[in-house]
């Protein structure tokens, strides 16, 4: 990569919501005024100390932040066994799976719900894939007494029954979406359509760093609490910055949250792990940066899985949370700059990592961070023993035990 890097990679997006050529506001006119309203409201909230204090209060006392930074000693020792002498980096987990609701999603949801209230919106809609974002949104809506409608692909409703029931217990309405392949992409289409029809009173709480500006920047800002904490905690634990960060990428919100505070630290390498499904050389994967090309979908320009005619392809991953044919625009930019390395792990590798982590660390990871862990298992043995990796354990695996059992041929 010979391109000179800008002075800071933490300035984006520009006034048009672009990260380099990516991002933007590609929405129908009906939504445009509302998108601009969200942008204005968020700009004001960002600078409002009372807003920030209320969000921080919720993070501390409701979510349980800061989440611990855990030295995965047994995993580290296990990986060193197979490594050459003197090799095998220390592996830390940033334990966002311990958050209330079991994943990182709640960080940005609470910020957005506070924003919605500030904007005077009286109902909330959200899309969800694995159901984690839906559960987080339903949770926040219960807390703030707001009606909540969650759009979820009918296929995902089937494979994530526990989360569907959870959302209903929390008082949310779950709308199964049957268009397209009935997964996350279609849920997002339907949420956007519903929003267009209910612009006056409704706030759309997007779960990832995608969608039209200002969503990618706003969700990243809220999720950056992950990286800010990790940075501080690592200084405390090791007295220095980590050498590598690893996070799973679907839309990319947990990765953006971990990476963003470190983007200008040149010594910190970053790895975003895409879902390779049944392999990136098959047609069944969700590796948009590895195998896609730039296009426009869901309000932003980014890397997309698409055919030669610009029709969007269906993604595949064992993890419903990574089953998306696009990726946040900031990732697309960091990919082209070469600042972050985008790699991938297959369904089978994630399943193996899922089981290994459960046995070695007593932590059942969600299938999403199991992809990140699968890459850690490859990368750590290739790094000297005095190097340090931080992996984002962005969700817990309770929701996935049925899927995993089925893949292992176990009947529950």
């Amino acid at each position: 990569m010979n391109k000179p890097l800008p002075n800071s990679l933490r300035q984006g997006p520009d006034a048009r919501g672009r990260f380099g050529p990516f991002g933007g506001r590609f929405v129908a006119e009906t939504l445009m005024p509302l998108i601009l309203e969200v942008e204005r409201a968020y700009d004001a909230a960002k600078k409002d100390a009372a807003f920030q204090a209320e969000w921080r209060r919720l993070l501390t006392h409701y979510v349980g932040r800061p989440s611990p930074l855990w030295f995965a000693e047994r995993l580290t020792a296990h990986l060193r066994k197979a490594a050459a002498p003197g090799m095998g980096a220390k592996v830390y987990f940033k334990r966002d799976e311990l958050n209330h609701t079991g994943a990182h999603k709640i960080n940005a949801v609470l910020g957005q719900i506070l924003l919605a209230k500030r904007m005077g919106k009286t109902r909330i809609i959200a899309e969800t894939g694995a159901g984690q974002h839906g559960v987080a949104t339903a949770t926040a809506c219960a807390l703030f007494d707001l009606p909540c409608t969650v759009f979820m692909g009918a296929t995902d409703v089937e494979r994530q029954q526990p989360n569907v029931f959870r959302m209903k217990l929390l008082g949310a309405e779950v709308v199964p979406v049957t268009s397209g392949a009935a997964t996350l992409k279609d849920a997002m289409n339907e949420a956007l359509r519903h929003w267009v029809a209910n612009v006056q009173d409704t706030y759309y709480c997007i779960g990832t760093v995608a969608g039209p500006h200002p969503y990618p920047a706003m969700v990243r800002d809220f999720q950056s609490v992950i990286g800010e904490e990790a940075r501080e905690q690592m200084m405390e634990a090791e007295g220095r910055l980590p050498d590598a960060l690893v996070a799973a990428i679907g839309g990319g919100s947990n990765a953006m949250g971990l990476f963003f505070p470190f983007l200008d630290d040149e010594t910190v390498a970053m790895y975003g792990v895409e879902a390779a499904g049944r392999g990136v050389d098959t047609e069944e994967h969700a590796a948009s940066l590895t195998k896609g090309r730039p296009g426009v979908l869901h309000g932003n320009r980014t890397y997309l899985l698409q055919d030669e005619f610009g029709q969007i392809l269906e993604a595949h991953s064992i993890s419903a949370g990574l089953d998306y044919p696009g990726v946040g625009p900031e990732h697309a930019w960091l990919h082209e700059l070469g600042r972050v390395n985008y790699v991938h792990a297959t369904d089978d590798e994630a399943l193996a990592a899922f089981q290994l982590c459960s046995r070695l660390e007593g932590i059942i990871p969600a299938l999403e961070p199991a992809h990140a862990l699968a890459y850690v298992m490859r990368q750590a043995p290739a790094m000297p023993a005095d190097k340090v990796i931080v992996m984002n354990m962005c969700g817990r695996g309770d929701k996935d035990i049925f899927t995993v059992a089925r893949h292992l041929g176990v009947k529950l």
Partner: protein, 276 residues
């Protein structure tokens, strides 16, 4: 003068309003949609809108979504859509054709190449739903260089502050989206339209057509009375969809039934008279 400007000028001179039917290219197969396209002008279409199928039509309701899925299954592409227009132009050089679709297939084709080919094929205007004025520089230079009108959507949510900006980026005519919502769902009230159209008129001299939720001859006539034209899409697609067999093929009289409906709608619109 572009075909669109010429057509609206001629209508104005005759004191008539424009009827603009819509069809989804390749729905349910290329031959049927070509037969509809050819039949539209004789059935009373003043301008024609052709939908370009896309896997993820964000602004469309179930009717147009399903039409797009049928079309994609039948092999629809942007190039195939342009070929339909070329075929149509062999026998009709006057009826303006507007392509309506989403940005990604155009991006994939290449914006400049697309504008060149579209103009050469006889396309007159573009409605790219997910390219708002804020992103207009993506397509404006190439569209302008090729003489293609960029028709913009104005919605009930487009406020006073925003209207001049949206209209400044518009050529050909203004497409007023009657409802805050997706295509083929609900309809606007006469009162809402009667208040909205003069608001737009204050900012532009361009003709205004009303679409989204215009389904019946009565509604089309109403839209024509208040504005300069009416667009009907989902109601026509519903008729086509109701005349497909179990395998999704068009029944023998499907085209005739849609054209009969076009005729009925066109007559209602043309019965509205305006001062010349």
């Amino acid at each position: 003068m572009s075909r669109i400007a010429a057509r609206f000028a001629a209508l104005k001179q005759e004191g008539r309003k424009a009827f603009i039917p819509f069809l989804e290219a390749y729905d349910p197969d290329p031959a049927t949609s070509m037969a509809l396209l050819r039949g539209f002008p004789r059935a009373g279409a003043d301008l024609i809108e052709i939908g370009v199928p896309f896997t993820d039509p964000m602004a469309d309701g179930p009717t147009v979504q399903r039409a797009g899925q049928r079309a994609l299954k039948a092999g629809a592409t942007l190039a195939g859509t342009l070929a339909m227009v070329r075929d149509f132009r062999r026998e009709d050089d006057a009826t303006p054709i507007i392509l309506m679709g989403y940005y990604n297939p155009i991006l994939s084709y290449g914006v400049e190449r697309f504008c060149t080919d579209a103009a050469a094929s006889g396309v007159d205007g573009l409605i790219i739903v997910d390219v708002p004025p804020e992103e207009a520089d993506e397509v404006e230079p190439a569209a302008r260089a090729n003489g293609l009108d960029l028709i913009r959507l104005v919605a009930p949510t487009t406020d006073e502050e925003r209207l001049p900006r949206v209209l400044a980026a518009t050529t050909g005519f203004v497409y007023y989206v009657a409802i805050t919502g997706i295509t083929g769902t609900r309809s606007a009230t006469t009162e809402a339209l009667a208040a909205a159209i003069p608001r737009v008129r204050r900012h532009t001299a361009l003709p205004i057509a009303i679409g989204f939720g215009v389904r019946t001859p009565e509604q089309a006539a109403e839209a024509a009375r208040i504005a300069d034209g009416a667009v009907v899409a989902s109601a026509l697609i519903d008729t086509l969809a109701a005349n497909l067999d179990e395998q999704g093929r068009a029944k023998p009289d499907a085209v005739r039934k849609v054209l009969d409906q076009v005729r009925e709608l066109a007559e209602a619109v043309h019965a509205v008279t305006a001062p010349a």
